[in-house]
């Protein structure tokens, strides 16, 4: 994996940093053995009501 940073100035003389990534193909593959993708369909109670 390679991470790149680009820093710019924004309103109020503040900085903002864009982080971009170059991930290897094998890094992009999701968890191979666990069931991370088993997340059930959910409603959005809590944050987006």
């Amino acid at each position: 994996m390679k991470m790149n940073k680009e820093r710019i100035k924004i309103e109020g003389n503040r900085y903002l940093i864009y982080y971009t990534f170059e991930n290897d193909e094998n890094e992009k593959s999701e968890c191979s053995s666990c069931c991370c993708n088993n997340k059930k369909e959910t409603d959005t109670k809590g944050e987006d009501d």
Binding site: L16, C35, C36, G46, E47, D48
Partner: protein, 333 residues
């Protein structure tokens, strides 16, 4: 205006930041300041049509550099210092809807890289003694923006809870020649009932001494003091266990569980804190699917937590939540 006011009774700094009263409060989705700035649309904080992860200085900071002059004069009893420091916002994704739990492991792994980078860069500033990385999620916690994001407070001092944790870790190390958290991991693994998830390099559990019903600690099995000292393999495993714990939280009752996620790392004050063990603590405010755990008189007034639940039972519930780790708590990459 902002400043640090010394609390002579509790012997800790209180940050006053009156300008934060005016901060953006739950804007409509179309006016989210953390979304990308689309052509012809209103300008957000992020002047780009797309991005992966963005960090920027908070528009309404509690701490800033250079700090403004304090609004009042100090006295012998009431000490004042400028609120020097840095407050950043970390935007996890350009997608307005969703949560960290919805992110892929690759996205979480990328975020870990950003967290480590911010810890190193901010901690490297000579006026910063402590870098606190955290996420407040959910209206119940008091979030003012629902777009998936976290925050970083770079303090000119060590915050009181962290100082207490450092003191006890150091004293334990001096007395026993061992790391306190390494022994806590050993004790939790030996008992096993409070383990929520585990992989080769990280373990997640509700500690014996939990203050919140679903309070989860995530720790590296190897003794590491901060995120920047985690190697690539450890960062991969951290992404994995974070995804597992966050997914369990959301599957526990079928809604996106609010929480405070706090990274506890060694201070950056140039002293030796090698005795300290990096950990992530989650404090969800729910005690059942429809009841909140409030910090009431005993907790807020006396600092004494009352947990209405048994950590052993709550950990079992989380183990049983998908992705299920009930049969074997180990989830390998």
């Amino acid at each position: 205006m902002s400043e640090l006011r010394w609390h002579p009774v509790l012997e800790q700094w209180v940050i006053t930041a009156t300008h934060r009263q005016d901060r953006t409060f739950l804007p409509p989705d179309d006016y989210c300041p953390l979304c990308p700035t689309k052509k012809g649309s209103f300008p957000t904080e992020i002047p780009s049509e797309d991005y992966e992860i963005v960090v920027f200085e908070n528009r309404f900071p509690s701490l800033s550099h250079p700090a403004p002059r304090p609004a009042v004069e100090e006295t012998d009893l009431y000490k004042i210092k400028p609120a020097d420091g840095i407050c950043e916002v970390v935007v996890y994704t350009p997608n307005h809807n969703g949560t960290l739990a919805d992110s892929s492991i690759t996205q979480i792994r990328n975020l870990i890289e950003v967290w480590a980078d911010r810890y190193e860069e901010l901690g490297g500033r000579d006026f910063i003694d402590y870098v606190l990385i955290f996420e407040n999620k959910g209206k119940e916690i008091g979030v003012t923006l629902t777009h998936p994001h976290g925050q970083i407070y770079a303090f000119p001092f060590i915050p009181p809870f962290i100082q207490q944790e450092l003191n006890s870790s150091k004293a334990y190390h001096q007395k026993n020649g061992k790391c306190l958290y390494c022994n806590i991991i050993e004790e939790e693994k030996k008992d096993g009932r409070r383990i929520v998830a585990e992989n080769d390099l990280f373990v997640a559990f509700i500690p014996f001494f939990a203050r919140f019903p679903y309070e989860v600690y995530i720790l590296p099995k190897n003794h590491k003091s901060d995120m920047s000292s985690l190697d690539d393999k450890e960062r991969d495993h951290l992404a994995n266990i974070l995804k597992v714990v966050l997914t369990k939280y959301d599957n526990l009752w079928g809604f996106s569980l609010p929480y405070m996620m706090i990274m506890h790392q060694a201070p950056t004050d140039s002293r030796d804190h090698s005795y300290f063990h990096y950990n992530i603590q989650f404090h969800p405010p729910y005690r059942t699917a429809n009841k909140l755990k409030y910090l009431a008189g005993c907790e807020s007034g006396a600092g004494n937590f009352i947990n209405d639940t048994l950590a052993e039972e709550k950990a079992e519930e989380l183990r049983n939540a998908e992705p299920s780790t009930a049969k074997d708590t180990k989830i390998y990459l």
